[in-house]
Amino acid sequence: METETVIKAVDLTKKFGNFTAVDNISFEVNKGEIFGFLGANGAGKTTAMRMLCGLSKPTSGVANIAGFDVYTETEKIKSHIGYMSQKFSLYEDLTIAENINFFGGIYGLSDKELKEQSNSLIEKLDLSKNANKLVGELPLGWKQKLAFSVAIIHKPSIVFLDEPTGGVDPITRRQFWDMIYDAAESGITIFITTHYMDEAEYCNRVSMMVDGKIAALDSPSNLKEQYGAATMDDVFYYLARQAKRS
């Protein structure tokens, strides 16, 4: 089976004045892959992710997202990716149905598609009784599941998830991952950051950023083997301790 590359970064760099936030990172992510993007606070994850989403222009280097260039084709990139973060996801003062319609509309879904998607989504999440409830009234876990579904409503090739499960209860957290697996199986590439090390294990491949560079990139089992560690937690701890900047 031919693997298709959907994210390709070569020597990607971002400097803020004298400070090199992201320092020559190169990696590829394949279609349908679940790619864990780990690193300590301040290692440069957020900056790198912003460049990949077309929100921030790299200082140098090359990056292709879903076949589009991050320098010149940011608008196209934006219509081919989905994005969800722990902090902002949905409008709390709109109902579930209104949120779905709004975000679907933004991504240019036709009325018919929107209706179909919206119905199947509400059914899948078992929210039919609550479709007219305000999102703000939902428990956090539900909000995050709904936000994820909305982020992939336009069937993007890649979805960027920035700490999507922070503070979510253990059962809902796992249900969230079930949804990630389903999305990956349908061909959506998952690019995810997390502070839960057990979640790193769920990824096909994991990269570890330290001081703006990618210090390690491999499958969780290979990483554990390579660093002689029992858990991903130990791998992370070992690598992150080597950070020099604070």
């Binding site: 690193g39 428990p139 979510v168 209860d169 253990p170 079930d178 057990d198 991903m232 701890y237 950070a243």
Partner: protein
């Protein structure tokens, strides 16, 4: 002696629509490191605010360091240290200015209790003229801890000190708490990270405002009722689906590189031998019996609670 007593405390918001705490009771011994473990929205912050005299409970009573949280709130405010969940220092003041400021509002000086914070503050010293807003997450949290400790409180309340902080800083933080415990300070700490439960002496698992269980982490994991197996194969997501289809499997949840499964009562077959995995051919299956973790227990208690609740 008990430094903290909580009796049947309930609190709701929005005229009773949102129940934040339901009949919560527990107590903490002097010098104990007590953990409140639960996800966001479980009621942890409300509980902390009631105990730090910032909110009034609807029902029930609580005492901190021998003082009632309502009547003697002034006494409590003299004796406790509090680090709210959100980074709550002045971002436009420098590290040193923050520390001096908080020392003075607690009627003390940095010098007076410097010994207590010395271990932590030496790491901050190189940045003492940096504005707090420009510190990294780990450093901010250390500064916040210093500010909460500067008056040598009898009881320390730490509301989700490790949320959003990376694994390295989290480990360092728990090391600091262990050292503080030796100073005889009672510490109440909350966290959504189940793996941090083992670092506490005793824990309360809390979900939807109700306490699911209170005990030492060991006792809680020992009370897990079922035998647990850790299973893995090459296709973990398919494996999980197949396991869940099997009627002998009571629960199946992913835990890092393994799935943890338990079986329905009366399942006598050796799971190693039996056909657990349905028609799909899984490759590289490996299975081992394991002890339950706090997270297994939390999931178990949470499911049980929900079944009873409905």
């Amino acid at each position: 002696m008990q430094d903290l007593i909580v009796n049947n405390v309930s609190k709701s918001f929005n005229k009773g629509k949102v129940k934040a705490l339901v009949d919560v009771s527990f107590s903490v011994e002097k010098g104990e490191l007590f953990g409140i473990i639960g996800p966001d929205g479980a009621g942890k912050t409300t509980l902390f605010r009631i105990l730090t005299t910032l909110l009034l409970a609807d029902e029930g009573m609580a005492t901190v360091n021998g003082s009632d949280v309502i009547i003697d709130y002034k006494a409590i405010r003299n004796n406790v240290g509090y680090m709210p969940g959100k980074f709550s220092l002045y971002q436009d003041l420098t590290v040193e200015e923050n520390l001096v400021f908080f020392a003075s509002i607690f009627n003390t000086t940095v010098e007076e209790n410097y010994k207590l914070i010395e271990d932590i503050y030496v790491q901050l010293e190189p940045f003492k003229n940096r504005r707090a807003g420009k510190l990294s997450g780990g450093m901010k949290q250390k500064l916040a801890l210093c500010c909460a400790l500067i008056h040598r409180p009898a009881v320390l309340f730490l509301d989700e000190p490790t949320t959003g902080v990376d694994a390295v800083s989290r480990k360092e933080f728990w090391e600091m708490l262990k050292r503080l415990k030796k100073e005889g300070i009672t510490i109440l700490v909350s966290t959504p990270y189940m793996d941090e439960a083992n670092l506490c002496e005793r824990i309360a698992l809390i979900q939807k405002g109700e306490i699911l269980s209170i005990d030492t982490p060991n006792n809680i994991t020992e009370q897990y009722p079922d035998k647990l197996l850790a299973v893995k194969s090459d296709n973990m997501s398919l494996l999980l689906k197949d396991l869940r289809k099997n009627e002998n499997v009571k629960s199946a949840f992913s835990f890092g590189e393994y799935h943890h499964i338990s079986f329905v009562d009366g399942f006598k077959n050796d799971p190693m031998q039996s056909d657990l995995f349905g028609a799909n051919n899984h490759t590289n299956i490996s299975m081992k019996p394991i002890a339950a973790t706090v997270e297994d227990c939390f999931i178990h208690l949470m499911s049980k609670h929900e079944v009873n609740g409905n």
